[in-house]
Amino acid sequence: MTTLSPSQSLPADTAEQARSLGRTRRPYVNSYVGGTVLGIVLFLAFFITGNGLGASGGLNRFLVFFEDLIAPGHIDRTPYLIGMAGGNTNPLDDWIVFLTLGTVLGGFASGWFNGRLRIETGKGPNISNRTRWGMAFLGGILMGYGARMARGCTSGQALSGGAVLSVGSWAFMFAVFGGGYALAYFFRRFWN
């Protein structure tokens, strides 16, 4: 298990570490190149399907699928969940689920191809793995909760809504960055 620190994305300790599944770890692409690829994918999504990209909606449906297995009665009594899985509706029978699956597959394929498929924990240099895991879980809870409240996450709201000029999406985007910057100082120990 290795750790990634912010300044050195490629810890070139040993030759063994620099390889994953027989593939050499390559550096990330230039941010503007990555962004352009992202923009083209986003455009194609809108052009072909009329929908943007998203992630939290897919996660939501996976969750509801399991909830429905465990407590179907509860789903049928909660107004927010009925639309997704009330009665015989299968929450996984939705395009966003396949988009989400594709995202995982794409990340996996790219990670494998570029030699970045490796069991590791990304964290700041001054905290333990356990602390990082706890923080990731806690942050995830806030993210998941906030994303549902805002009706979309960074990809479904900020990225997709931003590109088609939705007022709410731009307000949301500033709120996300604002919230992050406002608290960054208090969490500097965790990342630096």
């Binding site: 912010p6 909606g57 942050g139 995830g140 809870i141 990809s155 709120a175």
Partner: protein, 410 residues
């Protein structure tokens, strides 16, 4: 014209395969940019690594320029793509919570999926947390449902907010992004100790930025299609519907739909306010013809089972309204045959309804005298659907909405 109705067109399996492929591209774009690494993402908030801002805004401006150019060239119907409806305050509060989640957890939901896919343990814990958070939301939203549905502004876009043409807004956003990129590069070098890009990289980056800026200037000059231009592209096909009287519905059919629980009826009364005040059908919305354009965006976000019926005293104004709504891709729009005059003939005059092809006289005056402005406080404004058993030729065919009915958040 794009976008396409994938599911009816290709069937579910193939449509879902396309979504899978788009997702694949999305996951790849995130992974090659380094979004599986939480320290890289969090570096954004300490000005050490501005990858998040650079990738995200590059993605936004590239997609935006392509989308609005496609729309300008008539290749893509902007009214049929999903624009996240604005719920201002839930969005801002949710965004602030997510900002906190970002700095604490180091990911957002999409990036955690990619981290998980590349075996990052922190990505796994984050995704687990996100599922937990989503679960808590589903369980608690009922306690603040009013807030969650508050400050709804519909399909509200920046060009509407600022009263500027879309092309100009696109240009200003591209310009803003390029300035931010310049600043981000400087901040990274100062706080993150990153080396300045090589000369060739700097030149290529500048050239790409200049290209995008030029494309947005050209877009601004070229402009977006107007309602008249959109109508021109479909006039032949749509005028035929008007001539065949395929979209003019009898008063009795409208009344049946008003009382049909499965269909939401929006009676759009396009007469002036004075006429509306004198008499209107119960539940009708007063949208004088001159104000119709500004009401279109909200019509695009109505549920799939919404039936729009344009109404004037006769049919002339209502037909103009129908043309505008059809040109702007509002689904399921019809005209009240013979207008309010025919409605009153049917429900107040006691006349036998005349044959449907002769209900219109072309005269937009109200034929019925009213002593006072009674609005909907008149028995004929809200007739009893069971009192009269009127025959009519049914014309309404509720069509599947062409555009998507929910974004990546449903």
């Amino acid at each position: 014209m794009a976008p396409f109705l994938l599911e009816p067109l290709l069937g579910k399996p193939l449509a879902y395969l396309i979504y899978l492929l788009i997702g694949f591209g999305f996951g790849t774009a995130l992974e090659i940019s380094g979004f599986a690494s939480s320290p890289k993402l969090a570096g954004q908030f300490y000005f050490k690594d501005m990858t998040v801002l650079k990738v995200m805004f590059t993605g936004i401006i590239v997609a935006m320029v392509l989308i609005f150019w496609s729309s300008a060239l008539g290749l893509l119907n902007y009214n049929l793509i999903w624009v996240n409806p604005t719920y201002l305050w839930p969005g801002i509060v949710g965004g602030l919570i997510m900002g906190a989640g970002f700095i604490i957890g180091g990911f957002c939901p999409g990036t955690s999926l990619v981290a998980l896919a590349t075996l990052k343990i922190d990505g796994f814990f984050f995704a687990l947390g996100a599922l937990t958070g989503i679960f808590f939301f589903g369980e608690t939203v009922q306690y603040f449902d009013r807030f969650w549905h508050s400050s709804y502004m519909g399909r509200f876009t920046l060009p509407q907010l600022f009263g500027l043409p879309a092309g100009l807004v696109v240009f200003l956003i591209v310009l803003m992004a390029l300035v931010m990129f310049w600043g981000a590069d400087k901040l990274e070098q100062f706080f993150g100790g990153k080396p300045a890009p090589s000369r060739s990289t700097a030149i290529r980056t500048a050239a790409a930025g200049a290209t995008l800026l030029a494309a947005s200037v050209a877009l601004m000059v070229y402009g977006q299609p107007t309602t008249a231009e959109k109508w021109a592209g479909m006039a032949d096909e749509k005028e035929a519907l008007l001539t065949e009287r395929a979209v003019q519905i009898a008063p009795a059919e409208l009344l049946d739909y008003i009382y049909n629980d499965k269909v939401i009826v929006k009676v759009i009364d396009v007469r002036d306010e004075a006429n509306y005040n004198v008499f209107h059908i119960v539940g009708a919305e007063s949208i004088p013809l001159a104000d119709l354009s500004s009401a279109i965006p909200d019509m695009l976000t109505e549920p799939e089972n919404t039936l729009f019926v344009a109404v004037s005293n006769d049919e002339t104004l209502a037909t103009d309204a129908w043309r505008t709504m059809a040109a702007e891709s509002v689904p399921n729009v019809y005209i009240l045959a013979g207008g309010i005059n025919n409605w009153l003939d049917t429900f107040a005059g006691g006349k036998t309804p005349v044959a449907l092809n002769s209900v219109t006289t072309g005269n937009e005056d109200l034929r019925y005298p009213f002593d006072a402005a009674v609005g909907a406080m008149h028995p004929a404004a809200d007739p009893d659907p069971n009192a009269l058993h009127l025959e009519y030729i049914p014309k309404v065919e509720m069509k599947l909405k062409q555009g998507p009915s929910g974004g990546g958040c449903g």
